[in-house]
């Protein structure tokens, strides 16, 4: 009997010990003196660390921890469990809308940002809960070996034209930026300044025409670039900056900025951010035109502060989506239209996103 009791209690103690790690979880919050910034990773983070983080750490004495990627589901889980370990995030407009719906962000403290810098940032990028850091656009990105520059698709109508421009296409699926209804309407001849409000049914008719041309619906921009480099597709709708970065590394890729859709990656504050003042100071430093120029030289995304162009050469500027040359042929993605709820309470981002998923599955 005694041996049995000992064994049983040994079993219970083991069980308790095994569950131990679940009960004294180390607090994941930033320690005082540390700021957690979340971005998309890769080369941009390297440039961010080299310029912005270095300047910030020198000015404030705080240490910065960079994390990636800014998954909105993670933010939701964090805020709802009260265990917030991220302070500042940089993410795109659809993600901002998704997070606002569940009340996961703090408003931006515009008083803490230099007036001179705000003056040079487009008004569209100064929202209540999001402040633009970099600008990119969805462009016609093509394989310059399979479709030489002299005879490449110059607009979306030509991208939809498989007879004169044969080859596979790639468009994005999933992510808040899909479906590319604006490109569909432009392909149908709608003038760029008359796009919004979008004629949804007309756009979907054009999407039906696009479907047989698409070799693969990509789920990450890196995938799109890989498909283009490998020659699986000849043209795609993806981020021009990524195409330029690949071109610089020797890939047979080029970008046409005509009819591009401009969008921004924005700074946001997670609800429950520990030190809002320090977080805003980081954002303020990130908007410094000199630092934005230094980053843009390394990673070809358009700086949100147009003052940065004073520090860039003409050659460097030519590659950016927001250079005067390139920006005049593009349009801004209308985040207002996409985030205004319809009569059923759903925003176009949600209803069109769902419609896209169903359209894709019921092929």
């Amino acid at each position: 009997m005694k041996r049995r009791e000992v064994l049983k209690s040994a079993g219970i103690v083991t069980a308790a010990a095994l569950t131990g790690p679940f009960f004294h979880i180390r607090p994941a919050r930033a320690d005082k003196g540390e700021l957690v910034v979340v971005s998309w990773g890769g080369d941009y983070d390297t440039a961010l660390r080299e310029h912005v983080v270095a300047a910030f750490e020198k000015a404030t004495g705080y240490a910065v921890k960079l994390d990636a990627p800014p998954e909105t589901a993670k933010v939701k889980a964090m805020v709802q469990s009260g265990n917030v370990s991220w302070d500042v995030i940089m993410t795109d407009a659809p993600a901002v809308q998704a997070m606002l719906k569940d009340n996961l962000l703090e408003p931006i403290e515009y008083a803490a940002v230099d007036k001179a810098r705000l003056a040079k940032i487009p008004k569209e990028l100064q929202q209540q809960y999001a402040l633009g850091q970099r600008i990119y656009s969805f462009n016609i990105v093509y394989n310059s070996k399979l479709m030489p520059k002299a005879k490449h698709t110059r607009n979306w109508t030509e991208v939809w034209d498989a007879k004169n421009f044969p080859g596979g296409r790639t468009f994005n699926f999933q992510g808040g930026t899909a479906p590319q209804l604006e490109a569909a309407l432009l392909a149908d001849g709608v003038p760029m300044d008359k796009l919004y409000p979008l004629d949804i049914e007309r756009a979907w008719k054009m999407m039906d025409k696009l479907r047989p041309l698409v070799t693969k619906w990509y789920t990450s921009h890196a995938q799109a670039i890989q498909l283009l480099s490998a020659g699986e597709v000849v043209v795609g709708n993806t981020i021009g900056s990524r195409g330029i970065a690949a071109k610089k590394q020797g890939a047979p890729i080029d970008v046409d900025y005509n009819q591009g859709k401009l969008a921004s990656d924005n700074w946001c504050l997670v609800k429950g951010v520990r030190d809002k003042k320090i977080a805003m100071e980081f954002i303020n430093i990130a908007l410094d035109p000199k630092l934005q120029a230094l980053i843009a030289q390394k990673v070809p995304y358009g700086p949100s502060n147009s003052g940065a162009f004073e520090f860039l050469s003409a050659a460097e500027a030519a590659d950016l989506a927001t250079s005067p040359e390139n920006i005049k042929n593009q349009f801004w993605w209308n985040t207002d239209w996409w985030s205004t709820p319809g009569p059923d309470g759903k925003t176009p981002r949600e209803s069109q996103g769902e419609r896209f998923a169903k359209w894709m599955v019921m092929n």
Partner: protein, 284 residues
């Protein structure tokens, strides 16, 4: 009842306790939480299930998932059976070589292997270049972003999961039984069909169950190597979570998959008397 009490007070009961507690915490508790998301949204609600019933797209994704999984299981079985048979009947050295050949890819990350297939099966990939060079085809074949790509990618990953259970059962079949059958005049094909095959069925069942279960949960391979016809329920669940932050509906889809798979197993097990086959070890 008396027997149950006696079990939990026994040595066996105490030894199982740690594993049971762990299981309750990391499997049962999250499942209960998921059910909570699926049935509660400021009060009990069936709205997610109503939405699911209304939309055919999610059932199409479910049927895609099952179609892929059944096909993978069948193809893997057809490829693995001869291989396992070879491993059983060959020399120990050859068996070792075959085992190593099976295990090395097994130890490589699934993601890396999936990306490798993109290179091998692409328009300008190894297979197409070979076919073109041999003059077997006039233009590159579409081997990716369709069912072919998904099957190749998944079968390669799941092959060891079928071979090893098959081998484990086959290696325990008393070869004397085979010899007796031959000496009684049975031709080789009869020996295979009527003696060897029935004896190897527990291995077939175990392998198929394992491969099917794993295939049903695959997310990355169908997403990277498949086309719209291979969109799985896993993809839809991911979309609900990451794009729409709709945890309630994602949980509903997850529970749907769980219910369907459980139903399939209950049905197949009743139909084939699986309990008898799989649990045959203890008795015999």
């Amino acid at each position: 009842m008396q027997q149950a009490v006696r079990f939990w007070r026994s040595r066996e009961g105490a030894l199982i306790l740690p594993a049971l507690v762990f299981y309750l915490l990391v499997y049962v508790y999250p499942l209960v939480k998921m059910a909570g998301w699926s049935f509660f949204d400021h009060g009990f609600t069936l709205k997610f299930w109503r939405e699911l019933a209304r939309e055919p797209a999610y059932f199409k994704a479910l049927s895609n998932t099952l179609e892929i999984s059944v096909l993978v299981t069948v193809i893997t079985l057809l490829l693995s059976y001869p291989l396992a048979y070879l491993m059983t009947t060959t020399t120990p050295r050859a068996r070792r070589v075959l085992t190593v050949l099976l295990l090395i890819p097994f130890w490589t990350s699934v993601l890396v292997r999936t990306f490798a297939w993109l290179v091998i099966l692409g328009r300008n990939g190894l297979v197409n270049n070979l076919l073109l060079a041999l003059g077997l085809v006039g233009e590159p074949q579409k081997l990716l972003f369709n069912m072919i790509g998904v099957q190749v990618g998944m079968v390669q990953v799941l092959l060891p999961f079928m071979v090893f259970p098959l081998y484990a059962v086959m290696s325990r079949i008393d070869l004397n039984v085979i010899r007796v059958a031959r000496s009684l005049g049975a031709p080789p094909h009869r020996v295979l069909l009527h003696v060897f095959l029935p004896l190897s069925l527990p291995g077939v069942a175990a392998g198929c169950i394992l491969v099917f279960l794993l295939a049903v949960g695959f997310y990355v391979t169908p997403a990277l190597l498949g086309g719209p016809g291979q969109i799985t329920l896993a993809t839809m669940i991911d979309m609900m979570i990451t794009t729409f932050l709709n945890f309630g509906f994602a949980a509903t889809l997850g529970l749907l998959l769980l219910a369907v798979v459980a139903g399939i197993f209950a049905g197949v097990s009743a139909l084939l008397g699986l309990n008898r086959i799989v649990g045959g070890g203890a008795g015999s």
